[in-house]
Every structure is written in structure tokens, then in C-alpha cells.
């Protein structure tokens, strides 16, 4: 299907916080309580509309287990957005956020939009992490924050779409170089002729400037 832009996302966070469920809820609008353990990385895609433009989201759902971290790291580079997920009913998953964030910041491009997600908001009675704590963490590290429930679908759409909006805004502001694929953004096929031509020319001039003289 034709799209104006394609954004690449990754979902990261400890094992069992509901990453795969968030993806399934977003792409298939369903909840599956029993899910196979993710090994390596799973993939999902969906089309959304922002500002009247069709945007294709490609989402890579990564394995939370330490054992697969070597693979997860390969996906940081080249992603435009990341959903960093913890489980509000498990304090340890919140405590590990710093490690995740460091890993992400170290391996991704500096413009990657990171959305902090406190998942399982339907399990209020078992809550271990206050909403305020999530907000404070997000504020401190410059992230957008949201509590979601993959089970009830609360805020799931918003989480993915708000991340996309933020990326879209950064494109409008010219922060992202959309011709550099390492940024996790691709211009859609209908734009590709015009975009490709100007991209090649622009890159040529950029190369000259990068040479160090001008």
C-alpha cells in the first residue's frame, strides 16, 4: 500500500512486561494471554494517518531476556522510535529502565524518539510502581510517558501514534535527515522519484561541506 513515510520502531524492556502483547494489540487488535517467549525479534506492521498522511509503522518486538541482547542491539541502530516498556506490577522492571535507556542511547542514533510505557494498567490492585514515578523518570530523561494496558487496549493506539507524531514533527523541523536510512525513516514510493533525486544531489553537496573546508 502507498504511504508517505515509513517509520521503524523497536519495542524494548524486560522479559514479561508485555511487549509482544502491545504489538499484537496494536497490529491485530487482540489480546493473547499466553504467548510464546520471544526469541530474537518479531515483526509487525500497521498503517496510521497523521496530518492527513499515510504512515507505515514497521515494528520490531525484541526479546527481553539478557540472552538475546546481542540481537536486540542490532536493531537500535536504524530505528526512528523506541517504546521502552516496564510492568507497573513489577518494581524490578522499572528499576532496569536506566540500563535499557543507556543501552538504547549508546547504540541508537541520537534523534531516536523514546516513549516510556508503563504496561498492565488494568492490574491496579497489584500495582508496584506509581504513575508519578513513571512520569518523574520520563521527565528526568526527556521521554514521553504513558500507562497502557495491552489487555484492555487502553492507550495502546495512543502510545504508538504519539511516538509517530513526535517523529513526524521532528521531520518537519528538519531534525531527521530523511535521506539517511540509518535514521529509520523512509520516504514512501510516491515521493521516491522527487525525494531520491534531490536526495542524491543534496548528499553530494553535503559531502563537499563535510570535507572540512567550507
Amino acid at each position: 500500500m502507498a504511504y508517505a513515510y515509513l517509520f521503524k520502531y523497536i519495542i524494548i524492556g524486560d522479559t514479561g512486561v508485555g511487549k509482544s502483547c502491545l504489538l499484537l494489540q496494536f497490529t491485530d487488535k487482540r489480546f493473547q494471554p499466553v504467548h510464546d517467549l520471544t526469541i530474537g525479534v518479531e515483526f509487525g506492521a500497521r498503517m496510521i494517518t497523521i496530518d492527513g498522511k499515510q504512515i507505515k509503522l514497521q515494528i520490531w518486538d525484541t526479546a527481553g531476556q539478557e540472552a538475546f541482547r546481542s540481537i536486540t542491539r542490532s536493531y537500535y541502530r536504524g530505528a526512528a522510535g523506541a517504546l521502552l516498556v516496564y510492568d507497573i506490577t513489577r518494581r524490578d522492571t522499572f528499576n532496569h529502565l536506566t540500563t535499557w535507556l543507556e543501552d538504547a542511547r549508546q547504540h541508537s542514533n541520537s534523534n531516536m524518539v523514546i516513549m516510556l510505557i508503563g504496561n498492565k494498567s488494568d492490574l491496579e490492585s497489584r500495582r508496584e510502581v506509581k504513575k508519578e514515578e513513571g512520569e518523574a523518570f520520563a521527565r528526568e530523561h526527556g521521554l514521553v510517558f504513558m500507562e497502557t494496558s495491552a489487555k484492555t487496549a487502553a492507550n495502546v493506539e495512543e502510545a504508538f501514534i504519539n511516538t509517530a507524531k513526535e517523529i513526524y514533527e521532528k521531520i518537519q523541523e528538519g531534525v531527521f535527515d530523511i535521506n539517511n536510512e540509518a535514521n529509520g525513516i523512509k520516504i514512501g514510493p510516491q515521493h521516491s522519484t522527487a525525494g531520491g533525486a534531490s536526495g542524491a544531489g543534496g548528499a553530494g553537496a553535503g559531502g563537499a561541506a563535510g570535507g572540512g573546508c567550507c
Binding site: 530474537g40 536504524g78 536510512e181 559531502g207
Partner: protein
């Protein structure tokens, strides 16, 4: 009557009887599956999804998952026990389904069921022979028919096993020689299973499978294990069943014979050639998971008992060979490829930006995989893989292209990009050593070829090779920088004995005779004002750093002179930007880059400045001779008499000779600097792009925190023998030439202004338009380059001060 009574009793018993146990349910579903196959009609065309088989398998799986939830302390429930003891040979049955593919779709179902069993249970007891053997068989059987429609399911099962091995490295044993049976056994279905599931196997005669090119021993030993594990096998230790060959806790084997195999990796490798990018991706992930295990034994298995590294590099070479020869070399540099995303991108048919895009993407994504693998994997594998990369790709495949006139430009562009994108220290090391030679070899043909390629008439080749050198320095290792750059300067042979301070020289700026001469000419006045202005600027910058040049601190005075030398190299009249407003920008840039080099070379064991500042009479920062920069250029400019200029040069030469003690031998700056200086002296006749990259290389070299190199490149007052070429002498020559030639252009000031505007506007069409003036372009390059060098000298000096404080 009696029978009636017994009927009632029976009914009562039925009512009172407890519901079927989980194991009974499990047996029920098992029997239903066997029943189906006992009565299976080969002519039946029903797909397996239309039968009850998926339902029964799902139920059996669910029962195992449910019973596990109730188990405590790592014990195994009765259903799983039935599998481990093979009283219910579910896994063997799956294997038979896989082989027979009856009804259609059975193979995929068997594979996904096996995968689900391993993924959903916490203890799938894979180290039990009754679990791992059927799994092995299943995988081997599937592997017999490459490019089968179930590749995806096959590689998923493999990846799942990799995940299990990652969590319990001891499990790697089940894929090694003593525990892998010979091929015919692996391809046959046990007789008891054939009776239970009486369908003919689809696979009859084993094809030639590379996995079995080496014949496996017919009677596998049961007692040798390659992998040591610390913890006991939970499954076996606590289960009531006794599994005869527990593979996890055996003795350590370190000697491999030719027949040793690591089946897990071998199987993964066989999927690398799949046409389905997703399958390849999964196989890549599997290889990465296993290779990144910290166990030395597993790493040795990968390097000694599997062709993993060789296969991976072979694939890289194959992809390299697929790149069309007519790719535009300038397209290569703009690619940014992440291996993991390419599988998805390639599904997009429009994924082709220019000629050769897919092939280049495919090649660079595989290179990215190799690089990532080397960063993540065990050091033994990284070392082996990088050696293989050098031998089989760089030496075996790419090297010939550098000397091939028709392909050298593209080959150089690709190799430069390769070096630019790789990040793994092992790979960078091997790459650099391939380029510059190992150890202390005196001549290295490849390096000479590259240097010569810079000096050909072909500007495209010069440009790409310069880019390559830029990257070689950027990615420089201690060894490669030593070989290319430092080899000749470490002796300080470029340096003549320090001359005695010459008081007259020091006062030259106030030299009345020259001052008087200047007054004859208004341009000279302007030049003088310009010099004053530059001096003020420098003073500003220095005092901004808390250095007051009025304090006659020797260091401050010297740096003032160095900066002066560079900034006043070109006379004001031909400067395109006499104000030098962007000088701050260069300082900022130099700061950033110098910090990078300080960090990068921190471990290099290079001498520090201070080390020999104290022991020698003169040093980097104690400049004994004065800058000659501004002597002759303005002279040359307003006299325009070659003869006079010539005489003046001679005067300079004589002076230098006077001050120089006899050096025994002429200094040889080596082939690399020879090339750099040669190109630099050709600045006025070379294309803009070539000059940009050339000056970029030199500024990079000037940034390197090595005292000798610093002195050689950034000390314009360095006393040298007459024939010793230096950066500053070369720059002076170029400046002289430009000063002579440019004013001869009609309306030259306007041309300079326009050219500057065009270059700064970064108009992409500028390069293509024919009417640009190469000579003036080179002037602007030189002008900016001088600012850059001055900034670098300043930043390095500033750093030394900070260190001293």
C-alpha cells in the same frame, strides 16, 4: 436380578469415579492421533488443518504446560515424564509426521508443535535423548530438502534451540559428535514408530547433504562431552525417571578430530542461502546467539568443528562479486545499512534507488552482520572470523581490483566504505594490517599501489583513494598510523640542528626598510592593516583563553607566531574572506576532533610533548626561527617581478643554510608524505573535491597528538635541511604560485567573490556546471585550510597549557 444389581453398582461407580487424570487425558489425545494414522488413507487429500490432529496436539501441549505450573522444585509432571521415558513417543511421532508430510501440512504442524513445546515450557528436558534425538532427526530430515516450503518453521525450531543453548550452554553437547548419530540413523524412523504411524516417509534416499560430507562415526561414544557445565541438570536430577545419557555433566574434551561436528551451527549455516530473507535473518540471529556465548568450549566448536566463519566470509565475497561494475562510485558513500532491517526492506519492490542499489545493500548489510557478529561474539570467534575476512575476502577477492584500471575506482570506493562502516576492533585491525602490512616489513606492495593510485592522472581514482586514506587514518590503529604516517618522523630526521636565535629576524615586523618599501603601495598599506587586524584577532583569541601575549611568555609568543604564519600565508589582496569571521567555527571544530584523537590514541603509547620538551633545547612549542610566511608573498604580489621574487627566495634559502648544521643524510619523508606534498603542490590544477579531501587528510594528521608529527606539520619555524620538504614549505610554494597567477585573471576580485559564494552555497548543480575556475577554487581551499591549521595549532597549544596547569 443379580445382573441388575451389578448394573446399578457399575453406574454408581461411574458417578463416583474421579474425573480422568491429566495423564489419562494426555494418553487419550495420543491414542486419537495414533488411531487417525492407523486408519489413514493415503489417497485422502484433506489438509491436516481440516483434521483433528492439530486439536489433539494442541491439547497435549496444553496439558504439559498446565502440569508444569503445578510442579515445584524443578520436578517433572507425569505427562512430560511419559515423553522423557518414551512411553508416549510424541516427539518421535512428530518426527514421523515431518518425514511423511501426511496429511499435507503435517510437517509444518510438527515443526511448530515442537517449537511451541520448547518455548512454552520452562523445562522441556532437551538433554534427554528421547527429546533431543527426535528433534535432531526432524531438523536433519527437513534439511534434506533445501528450500522447502517449511523453511520458516524449520529455522524457528532451530532458533528456539539456540535460545535454549544460550540459557543452558551445556545443551550445546547434544549437537556435537558423540551425541549426533550417523546420517542413516538420523534419517530413519524407529521401527516402533513406523508401526504406530504406518505411513511411508516422503524422504527415501538421502541426497548429498553438505552436513554429512564428513562421515560420522558409526558407533557414537556416549561418555565424552565437549562442554562443561557447572550446574546439575535439573530435569534429570529431580525427575523420577532416569534418563540414561545425561549429556550435560561429562568430562571436558578439548581435542577435536576431523569428524567432529557442531550440528547446530551447521544446520543454521545451511539456511543462509535461503531465498527468503526472513529465513536468512533468523539463521543469522541463531548464529549470533550461539557465537556470543561466553563459554570457550563452544567458541572452539564454532571455529574448529564448523565452517561458520568461512561460510560467512564466502557469502560476503559472493555478494561483493554481484555488485555491477557500472555502479557510480559516488553512490557508495551514501549508503547506511543495518543488517537486521534489510530483510524487511527487501520485501519492498521499490527498494532500489540507483543502479546496483540492491546488490550494494545486500553486500553492506552482510558486512554489517559480520561486523556486528564480531563485536558480539566470543573473542576466539572474532579473531578467527576477522582472519578469515582478511584472507578470503580482502586478499582473496577484493585486492586484485585495486590494481585493475577498469575497476580500481569502484573497488577503492567500496573498500573505503567498508573500512568506514566497520566498528569491531578485530576487524579494523585485520583490515588495517592488510593495508599497511604486518610487523616490520619495509615494503608493502598494497600500500604502494594505493599511494601510486593517488598520483595517477585519473582524478576519480585519486579522489576515491584519498577518501580511502582519510578513512585509513580515521580508523587508524597504532600499527597502521605508525606504518603510514609516523615511520619516518619518529627519528626527527627532518630536523636540522637548532639555529642560534637571530635578533634581527625577531624584529622583522618592525623592520623599517620593509615598512618603507610598503608605503610605496596602497595595497601594501592594506596588507599591513590586515596583518594588524589578524594579529589583533589572535590576541583576542589568546586573551580570551587567559593568555596575554603582551606578557612575554615564550609559549604564548610562539603560538602567536604559528597562527600568524598560517593566517598570513596568503596576501590580503587575494583573500576571499579577509575578515576571517568563521575562525571561531574552526576552533570549535578542532576542539571536538582533537578530543576524539586524544581519546582514540590514549592507549597508543605515543610520547607526550613534555617528555622531551625539557631535554632538548628546542621543541614543538619553542620556536627558534621566525615565520617566513609573510615575507615574500606580499613582495611577490606587488612587485610581480619573478626575478626579484626568485632572488628573495634565494636569500631565504641562504639564510636557512647559514643556520643549518650539516645534516649527514637528506631526510626522506617516505612515500606517503611524498604523495601528500606532491598533491598539495598541485593544488591549483586539481579538482575541488580532490583538494578538499587532501586538505582534510592533512588536517587530520595535524590533529594527531604525536609530538614529532605535530612539530613536522605545524611548526612553520622548524629548522630543516634545505631539501627536507615540510607542510609549510609546500604551502608557501602554492601560495606563491597563486599569488602570482590569480591577479593575472581579468577581474579576479569578482571571480574570487563569486567562486566563494558558489562553494559556500553548496549548490548541488555547481559541480556539474562547467564555468568554475579551478585556480580560484584552490585559492579558497587554501585560504580555509590555513584557518583550519591555525585553529588546530591553537587548540593543541591550549590543551598543553591546560595539562600543565
Amino acid at each position: 436380578m443379580l445382573s441388575r444389581f451389578s448394573d446399578v453398582l457399575q453406574t454408581a461407580a461411574d458417578v463416583l469415579a474421579p474425573p480422568a487424570t491429566r495423564l489419562e487425558d494426555f494418553e487419550y489425545h495420543w491414542k486419537m492421533i495414533l488411531n487417525f494414522y492407523q486408519n489413514y488413507d493415503e489417497n485422502n487429500k484433506l489438509h491436516i488443518e481440516e483434521t483433528r490432529i492439530p486439536h489433539h496436539l494442541h491439547q497435549m501441549l496444553q496439558l504439559i504446560v498446565d502440569e508444569e505450573k503445578e510442579q515445584h522444585g524443578g520436578t517433572v509432571g507425569p505427562c512430560m515424564e511419559a515423553i522423557v521415558q518414551r512411553s508416549i513417543c510424541l516427539l518421535d511421532a512428530l518426527c514421523a509426521l515431518c518425514a511423511a508430510e501426511r496429511p499435507p501440512g503435517a510437517r509444518a504442524l510438527a515443526l511448530t508443535t515442537g517449537t511451541a513445546l520448547l518455548r512454552r515450557t520452562r523445562q522441556p528436558c532437551v538433554n534427554s535423548a528421547h527429546v533431543y534425538r527426535p528433534l535432531q532427526r526432524m531438523l536433519i530430515q527437513c534439511n534434506e530438502s533445501p528450500a522447502s516450503p517449511t523453511e520458516k518453521e524449520e529455522v524457528e525450531l532451530l532458533l528456539t534451540l539456540c535460545g535454549l543453548v544460550r540459557k543452558e550452554p551445556g545443551l550445546a553437547n547434544i549437537f556435537t559428535t558423540p551425541f549426533v548419530e550417523d546420517k542413516s540413523t538420523l534419517l530413519s524412523i524407529p521401527e516402533d514408530i513406523q508401526k504406530l504411524i504406518p505411513i511411508r516417509s516422503k524422504i527415501q534416499t538421502p541426497k548429498k547433504n553438505p552436513l554429512f560430507e564428513v562421515e560420522l562415526p558409526p558407533n557414537p561414544l556416549r561418555n565424552v562431552s565437549i562442554i562443561r557445565t557447572g550446574k546439575d541438570d535439573v530435569c534429570n536430577a529431580t525427575s523420577s525417571s532416569s534418563v540414561d545419557d545425561n549429556v550435560s555433566c561429562k568430562s571436558h574434551k578439548t581435542v577435536y578430530d576431523d569428524n567432529d561436528k557442531f550440528l547446530l551451527i551447521d544446520l543454521l549455516l545451511s539456511y543462509l542461502n535461503s531465498a527468503d530473507n526472513q529465513v536468512v535473518l533468523r539463521a543469522c540471529e541463531g548464529i549470533m546467539i550461539v557465537s556470543s556465548l561466553p563459554e570457550d568450549d563452544i567458541a572452539n566448536l564454532v571455529t574448529s568443528c564448523s565452517p561458520a566463519c568461512e561460510t560467512i566470509v564466502e557469502k560476503l565475497a559472493a555478494k561483493y562479486k554481484c555488485v555491477p561494475a557500472n555502479v557510480d562510485p559516488s553512490d557508495v558513500d551514501h549508503l547506511n545499512i543495518t543488517w537486521a532491517y534489510v530483510a524487511q526492506d527487501f520485501g519492498d519492490k521499490s527498494y532500489s534507488k540507483f543502479n546496483g542499489y540492491r546488490e550494494l545493500t545486500s553486500f553492506f548489510s552482510w558486512l554489517d552482520y559480520c561486523d556486528t557478529l564480531m563485536k558480539e561474539c566470543h573473542p576466539t570467534i572474532a579473531a578467527h572470523l576477522s582472519r578469515t575476512f582478511r584472507q578470503n575476502f580482502l586478499e582473496g577477492t577484493a585486492e586484485a581490483g585495486i590494481t585493475d584500471i577498469h575497476h580500481a575506482v569502484l573497488v577503492t570506493a567500496i573498500l573505503a566504505k567498508c573500512l568506514k562502516v566497520v566498528d569491531s576492533p578485530d576487524l579494523i585491525n585485520e583490515f588495517s594490517n592488510w593495508l599497511v602490512g604486518d610487523g616490520e616489513v619495509s615494503e608493502w606492495p598494497l600500500l604502494h599501489t594505493l599511494i601510486n593510485n593517488c598520483l595517477t592522472e585519473n582524478h576519480d581514482l585519486t579522489l576515491e583513494t584519498l577518501r580511502f586514506f582519510e578513512t585509513i587514518i580515521e580508523k587508524g590503529t597504532e600499527h597502521s598510523i605508525q606504518r603510514v604516517v609516523l615511520a619516518r618522523v619518529t627519528s626527527r630526521g627532518y630536523r636540522a640542528s637548532p639555529p642560534a636565535p637571530d635578533e634581527d629576524e625577531r624584529d622583522r615586523l618592525n623592520d623599517l626598510s620593509i615598512g618603507r618599501e610598503r608605503e610605496y603601495n596602497r595595497e601594501a598599506m592594506k596588507q599591513l592593516q590586515h596583518e594588524d587586524h589578524v594579529n589583533e584577532q589572535i590576541t583576542d583569541i589568546l586573551s580570551h583563553e587567559g593568555l596575554d601575549p603582551k606578557h612575554h611568555d615564550e609559549g604564548t609568543e610562539n603560538i602567536h607566531r604559528v597562527i600568524n604564519s598560517f593566517l598570513l600565508l596568503l596576501p590580503r589582496a587575494i583573500l576571499s574572506d579577509p575578515v576571517g569571521a568563521d575562525y571561531e567555527h574552526y576552533i570549535h571544530d578542532a576542539h571536538r576532533r582533537y578530543q576524539y584523537w586524544l581519546d582514540t590514541t590514549a592507549s597508543f603509547g605515543w610520547p607526550h610533548d613534555h617528555g622531551w620538551v625539557d631535554t632538548t633545547a628546542s621543541s614543538t612549542h619553542s620556536y627558534d626561527s621566525r615565520p617566513e610566511a609573510d615575507i615574500h608573498l606580499d613582495e611577490a604580489f606587488h612587485t610581480k617581478h619573478n626575478a626579484k621574487d626568485h632572488k628573495f627566495s634565494q636569500k631565504l634559502v641562504l639564510r636557512t643554510r647559514d643556520l643549518t648544521s650539516q645534516s649527514e643524510e637528506d631526510f626522506d619523508e617516505g612515500p606517503f608524505f611524498k604523495m601528500i606534498f606532491k598533491l598539495l603542490s598541485n593544488l591549483p590544477t586539481q579538482p575541488y573535491q580532490v583538494n578538499l579531501h587532501l586538505t582534510s587528510i592533512i588536517s587530520q594528521l595535524a590533529l594527531l597528538p604525536h609530538p614529532n608529527l605535530h612539530e613536522y606539520l605545524l611548526n612553520p619555524m622548524l629548522p630543516t635541511a634545505k631539501k627536507t620538504p615540510t607542510l609549510f614549505k609546500t604551502l608557501q610554494e602554492v601560495a606563491k604560485r597563486l599569488t602570482m597567477e590569480i591577479p593575472r585573471l581579468r577581474n579576479y576580485k569578482k571571480i574570487i567573490e563569486n567562486t566563494r559564494q558558489c562553494l559556500m552555497s553548496e549548490d548541488p548543480n555547481y559541480d556539474e556546471s562547467g564555468d568554475h575556475n579551478q585556480l580560484v577554487e584552490s585559492l579558497i581551499v587554501l585560504e580555509e585550510f590555513c584557518k583550519e591549521l591555525a585553529a588546530i595549532a591553537f587548540v593543541k597549544y591550549q590543551h598543553t597549557l591546560h595539562m600543565q596547569r
